[in-house]
Subunit: 213 residues, 2 copies
DNA sequence: GTCTATAGTTGGATAGAC
DNA sequence: GTCTATCCAACTATAGAC
């Protein structure tokens, strides 16, 4: 069934090969970082040949860039859509602080099925700068500016430089969580979704209090 | 002058070679991570031969362990000394929250002259687990337990699991800052020391508010 | 204690057959 | 479009001279 028409010639479908490579790359780059991940490890996990990766993406760095593109563009679109909707509803009034934080954090935690792509976002802050600086600017620069501006609007009485600094603290919390460094103590009857929801609520509460302090 | 008696035979002093290696390793492991740093890069920066590193430390992983030992043991001693003094002064009363946070954070930011060793602590949370898990337990396990207990004592009305979680958020903020990911906007007449002091004060204020929320 | 030289792997990338 | 085979550079670690 489905649309799995194999090409008449040669091996697998090209799109399928690329998808498998990106899936494996996403997981491995997230878990082990760029320097800790070899092309061979990615291709082996994807079940394709080493040269397939170079054919489809050109280089290891280009594979990383493609991996970020696929994972983070939808995430950032979700963030900006939520923020835009908040701004529309608020009109000229101050933005509600916890809603702004929710718009920033929630898409990170509820997007895809598995957690691997979350760690990838964290690597923007720990992989060597010459590898990820451009990607960080591309995928986090605008987001950062938009949300800082929103937080300044949500906290009209606070000094702007202090809000900027506190936003970076919030990013630190987020990165730490998505890097898998936070152990939760789930209260016994707890599904994955309620656990995630609880963690998100705690992060927002922590961040909101810190921003208001 | 001084006690720089060169050994009668052979090249340089062994202790001096080790010091140079540890200095270079500290900086490079901090900046580029374990996988991103080659022994050759370390020995070249230290001005010694490749084999000197293996002779003195045995392997790349052992060099990393030695680097952590030299950098973090004094740091943790300072943290625990401050905490113990706080507990002594408080007697049976609740511990003052901001003082506990100060005891945890201040030694990280005022210890050595240069910033390289700070980043090393951050690598405990971003280098591949099979490399740093044991080091993280060794150099952060006890510290973490002691400070969580102190924070629980400082916040007797708060749920213990929530305090544990919030402590991990504080660690996230700290790691983000020591990893060099936070840009400060220093108000013009600002020396390094007042800038650091200001950053520390902001972190403590942010963390204290989040913990109390 | 330090060096040069080298062994033995593993890495990224490419050529050429199919 | 995919594969096998290969090149070449860089790596960790060690052997052996001094």
């Amino acid at each position: 069934m489905a649309t799995d028409l194999r090409p008449a010639l040669g091996g697998r479908d090209a799109a399928e090969t690329q998808r498998r490579l990106l899936d494996a790359a996403e997981r491995l780059f997230a878990e082990r970082g760029f320097m800790g991940t070899s092309i061979r490890a990615v291709t082996q996990a994807a079940g394709v040949s080493v040269s397939a990766a170079n054919y489809h993406f050109g280089s290891k760095e280009a594979l990383l860039a493609a991996t970020y593109g696929r994972a983070i563009i939808p995430l950032n679109e979700a963030r900006l859509a939520r923020l835009t909707e908040l701004e529309r509803r608020a009109g000229d009034a101050a933005l509600p602080l916890t809603d702004v934080l929710d718009a920033f954090l929630r898409p990170v935690f509820e997007s895809p099925d598995d957690a691997s792509f979350r760690g990838l976002a964290g690597r923007l802050f720990s992989d060597p700068p010459e590898i990820v600086a451009a990607l960080k600017q591309e995928y986090f620069g605008e987001i950062s500016e938009r949300f800082v501006a929103a937080l300044v609007r949500a906290l009209p009485d606070r000094d702007e430089d202090e809000v900027k600094l506190a936003f970076q603290f919030v990013v630190g919390v987020m990165v730490h969580v998505i890097a898998g460094q936070v152990e939760t103590n789930p209260t016994p009857p707890s599904s994955d979704v309620t656990e995630t929801e609880e963690l998100l609520a705690q992060m927002i509460r922590f961040a909101a209090a810190g921003l208001q302090a």
